[in-house]
């Protein structure tokens, strides 16, 4: 088999791009780890950049890539449902603060959407960009679903959610770690920061981290601000 025919074969099987997706993620994760997991070195963003570069280099279109990667993508649905487990586990915490949380969710969600859309609109962004931008403060899986329901571009939303998460972590982490008590390891994690403004990071370390009010159709996954 000559190399060209081999490449054509690889393009038609989901195996190649599925493997490449996992490989890119592992490389990106190793890089983030080497960088001390600073929020600015985001493994998801690096994996996306690596794969985007590889697609460009090989002249592969996104549809071909997605034929393979869709098997990973599919799991986003059940994973979103799975967020119900940590939410339920944190319910006692939510119930104790139900009014402050409800008010903070309502106002925070409104501010998040309105401020982003208004600023982008002032800079002349078209409707397609505004739709992708509006749900940027929700956790990525839900945000993409919302954008899709609104007829926007979910990939754009994914990148905006991750960027929001990085920004939120960069802004909050210094003050947060300073005010956190040493007896609460959860608060010392940058991902235990108020998740209202930015909620892209999955609870990759602790299943208990995202608390959220299910009364809201927007999964805003705020862990309650702690003082």
């Amino acid at each position: 088999m000559n190399p060209f025919r081999l490449w054509v074969y690889l393009q038609t099987t989901p195996l190649f791009w599925l493997t490449a997706t996992l490989a890119a993620f592992l490389v990106a994760d190793a890089l983030a780890k080497a960088a001390g997991r600073r929020p600015i070195v985001n493994h998801v963003l690096i994996a996306i950049a690596l794969l985007g570069g590889l697609l460009k280099l090989t002249g592969t279109d996104y549809q071909t890539y997605f034929n393979g990667a869709q098997f990973v993508h599919f799991l986003l649905g059940p994973a979103t449902v799975a967020l119900g487990v940590p939410i339920y586990t944190n319910f006692a915490l939510v119930r104790r603060n139900v009014w402050p949380l409800a008010a903070a969710l309502l106002i925070g969600a409104t501010v998040a959407i309105a401020s982003a859309v208004l600023v982008a609109k002032a800079f002349g962004a078209p409707r397609a960009v505004l739709i992708a931008l509006a749900p940027k403060s929700i956790t990525a899986g839900v945000a993409m679903a919302v954008t899709e329901a609104l007829g926007g571009a979910p990939p754009l939303t994914a990148v905006l959610v991750i960027a929001t998460g990085i920004l939120g972590a960069v802004i909050v982490t210094p003050s947060w770690t300073r005010s956190a008590s040493p007896t609460t390891p959860r608060a010392a994690s940058p991902w235990a920061s108020p998740r209202m403004a930015s909620a892209p990071r999955a609870p990759s370390r602790s299943i208990r981290s995202p608390a959220c009010s299910p009364a809201s159709p927007w999964d805003l996954t705020p862990s309650s601000p702690r003082r």
């Binding site: 994996a47 487990v85 104790r96 009014w99 925070g108 403004a197």
Partner: protein
């Protein structure tokens, strides 16, 4: 594990059917999520379900496994941004400004409102 994964898929399926069938504005998986929380609360009513038991159940294990892999699951959709590089380049400044202003405003508003309402309602207990 199979049972746990089945429960998650079943809730997503019901969520999708509800979203499409009833024309609900929320995405199917999000409705599935809400229904799962409701179901767990109802279950708790007649059979106590502590945190540890839930974590060690089939559902708890499946959920933990999937959520640990959550960042990876965003990658395929995120790579789709290659189709929108033109838009990103053209409106990069607008998007950057929107993100910075909105993130700061949202953080301040959320924490502010939370603390204000907590003080007003005099809620007790740790936050």
């Amino acid at each position: 594990m199979t049972r746990g994964f089945f429960i998650l898929l079943a809730f997503q399926l019901v969520g999708e059917v509800a979203a499409r069938g009833l024309g609900l504005p929320a995405p199917g998986p999000v409705i599935g999520l809400a229904l799962l929380v409701v179901a767990l609360s109802l279950h708790q009513r007649w059979r106590p379900l502590d945190e540890e038991a839930l974590a060690e159940s089939d559902l708890g294990k499946a959920a933990r496994g999937l959520l640990a892999a959550l960042p990876l699951l965003f990658v395929p959709a995120g790579v789709g941004v290659v189709q929108y590089m033109g838009l990103l380049r053209e409106y990069g400044l607008a998007l950057a400004m929107a993100l910075v202003v909105s993130t700061v405003a949202t953080l301040l508003a959320t924490v502010g409102v939370f603390l204000l309402v907590k003080r007003l309602t005099g809620a007790k207990g740790e936050a």
